[in-house]
């Protein structure tokens, strides 16, 4: 089923400069990087990673866990019958949430050469939250200083965890961005020096300043300087407002982590920090095409006119998006993949979501076949790994050895050896692309016949 170790994937390293020539050899395995995986210790085991001065607060935090778990259970997401069965059936592999040895076996089984590691191993009982919510969960109620201490503890453990196989794990440091700026900037550099590769900020700023505020400029500058993408992740949101209605929570689950995108964009953060990269994680990408259309329309409607209210930007929103923004989409739907020419093929980074139940594990190979069988191989390579390698700085040359051992091939994904009809089937969609820029004011679908 897998290609030989002498597989031709190494020629793929220069793909970026050779975009036109899609790698379509059906025996070249995919170099797959999951841009959205999760890991975390059972909460109580963070104690040794926490500075001693915070141990008493940590004991209090553990004591309040039961109430939070009961609250989480009201939502039912992890507790209806079929979900519980999933956890039982996969108990062994779920230990890969914090056991590095087990984890690599699961990645191999999925054909995933490397991964970006976010917090919350997602156990059925919600028992792997970082200390004090680590600034991501306002409901945890920690003061800023305590939140930073909790983040440091998680980050220390994560650096150890990723160091077991640094080529395959890119750890995402928790960064309570709303805390005191100097401490936040220091944690960016400390995290980078410890081997971590990206930064997760809270999607909401709670009582801190919104992300358009200039007080964050040193944080964005440090992120750009260290080449650590800044990320927001689905999952928080104002739960008390949702009244226990899972449908309400999930209807707006993508919106809260997406919101910082337009706060950064319109306040000129991407203009002032061209080296900053920003990603939205675990929220799919279905909300992005129309948002991008809407924002471009606002900007272009004032293009070049004096007195534009968008003077902080020198480019259209889509230009900043293509230069600096991406989505890490866990198990993206076929509908979302079909809209990749609007979103930007290079802006979609696939994720398995391991070990979360909403992800593709432990059936990733079958999932990939179902999702990608009729998508061009060259685009599949971008979304499954190439773009993530660039965004997070993976060493593709080293990973190629892993990919040659475990990576599924286009054949394995059911992609036809003759790609010409596949390419042709997407011609209209590709030509339409971002319809507001290509002259297709009405989508192509309404134009022909």
């Amino acid at each position: 089923m897998h290609a030989s170790p002498a597989c031709g994937i190494t020629s793929n390293v220069s793909f970026r400069t050779d975009r036109g020539a899609a790698m379509t050899d059906p025996t070249d395995p995919y170099l797959i990087i999951s841009a959205a995986c999760h890991a975390g210790l059972p909460t109580e085991r963070y104690r040794p990673y926490l500075e001693a001065g915070h141990h008493r607060a940590f004991d209090d935090f553990l004591g309040r866990r039961d109430a939070r778990r009961a609250e989480a259970a009201r939502y039912g997401a992890r507790h209806h019958t079929s979900a519980l069965k999933w956890y039982e059936d996969n108990e062994e592999g779920l230990r890969g949430g914090w056991d590095a040895g087990r984890r690599v076996k699961e990645l191999d089984g999925d054909g995933v050469a490397a991964e970006v590691v976010f917090p919350d191993a997602g156990t059925a009982d919600g028992g792997t939250a970082p200390p004090f919510g680590a600034g991501l969960d306002p409901a945890a109620g920690a003061d800023p200083e305590t939140a930073v201490a909790g983040a440091r503890a998680y980050n220390r453990w994560l650096a150890e965890f990723c160091a077991t196989d640094p080529e395959r794990h890119c750890g995402v440091a928790l960064l309570p961005a709303g805390a005191e700026t100097d401490a936040v900037v220091a944690e960016v550099h400390r995290a980078r020096e410890s081997g971590l590769g990206a930064l997760l900020i809270p999607a909401g700023w709670d009582d801190a300043a919104p992300y358009h505020d200039r007080r964050y400029d040193p944080v964005w500058a440090a992120a750009a300087e260290t080449a650590m993408p800044v990320l927001t992740c689905a999952g928080a949101g104002p739960r008390p407002e949702h009244g226990g209605h899972l449908g309400i929570q999930l209807s707006e689950a993508a919106w809260w982590p997406a919101r910082p995108l337009w706060f950064l964009l319109w306040s000129g953060v991407f203009e002032r920090h061209p080296g900053l990269r920003f990603g939205v994680v675990g929220a799919g990408c279905w909300w992005l095409p129309d948002l991008l259309w809407h924002m471009d329309r606002l900007y272009l409607g004032h293009g070049g006119r004096t007195g534009s209210p968008y003077a902080a930007l020198k480019r259209s929103p889509h230009e900043y998006l293509d230069r600096q923004v991406f989505v890490c989409a866990t198990a993206p739907s076929r509908h979302e993949l079909a809209r990749r020419y609007e979103i930007g093929v290079d802006n979609i980074l696939w994720g398995s979501g391991f070990p979360h139940p909403e992800g593709t594990w432990p059936h990733t190979r079958e999932w990939l076949r179902r999702a990608f069988h009729d998508i061009p191989v060259g685009e599949t390579r971008r979304m499954l790994g190439e773009s993530a390698a660039e965004a997070f700085g993976f060493d593709k040359r080293k990973l190629t050895r892993v990919a040659c051992r475990i990576g599924p091939t286009p054949d394995d994904l059911g992609q036809p050896r003759n790609q010409a009809p596949v390419e042709a089937s997407w011609r209209r969609a590709r030509e339409t692309g971002r319809h507001w820029l290509t002259g297709f004011d009405f989508p192509f679908v309404g134009m022909g016949e």
Copy 2:
């Protein structure tokens, strides 16, 4: 240019029961209802409509207006050079914001037979806000009792205003829904008895309970009983968070008024109150197709299974949408009109936005021609008036006389006399429709040549 008074439009009254037979006689004028217009007195003139006990508070409110105007000016929306020129050029017609005689002339000029009237006449200086923000503008800082008093004052004036030509004006009462329930329910009935036809609730609940709360059930019941649609409107949003960045405000301007939709839906309000109708106003409808897809997917993913977390619903989200929800779209874009088969043709109610600068006035006839020339006549009739007549209870028989006098015809809109090619051009889009329900997992655009 216009059809004779003996025009055939009356046969259109039974359109609802005769959906298949589109009225395509090119000399039948359109019965156009703008589902989103605005009116309001210059603020200081509400004093006589306000109960005496609130006069002192009103004087304080007026005193604080300058600060609010300065804040509004920071956003630039109404104050950049081209906008100011627009206000100057249209000064005469803008008096139609509160002068009923002038208003009817402007409606006639636009070919609009009837209208749904929302607050805020939208003058350049923002000087037509209802007293105390009337519960719609949390920044106005009124306590709930004062907010209700302000709403009553506006509603009294509006009832007088609409009574000048009740067939053509459907007034939307302000309803600070978060105030004491008995007072809110009383205001629903008082508003209905005074001749008003719909209810505008704040898009955000501020310190009150979110709209999933059972405390609102008597309000929804009263709205259903009086056949007054409940509406939310773009415009509020948490401005202090936006830091004066217009792009941030407008990027999420549709989201805040849309948010109550999923709070009502998932908490079972539409299930418990099948007679309730809910509309989102002035926020376009570009955000709706993917939201609907997302919500249907959540629900259908648990369809019929035991332990579904969506047990409050007996139907799919799209079924509630088609039964009870609509959008009043001011000057919808061509892109939004092209997605009408996903949204539901019958769920889109066109609005001119008169007298707001983002609307189509005073060039509505030209605007309609540009927007609708290649859309089928039958669907155009639904979106331009039929659906609004049903949602708001307009008397189509009486309005037909007005429409025969002023309404543009399909010829005027540049719609071909032979509609067959127009219908054919939309066949693929119509067949794809809600792609998640029609089996087009990938949009049609990617499937064929």
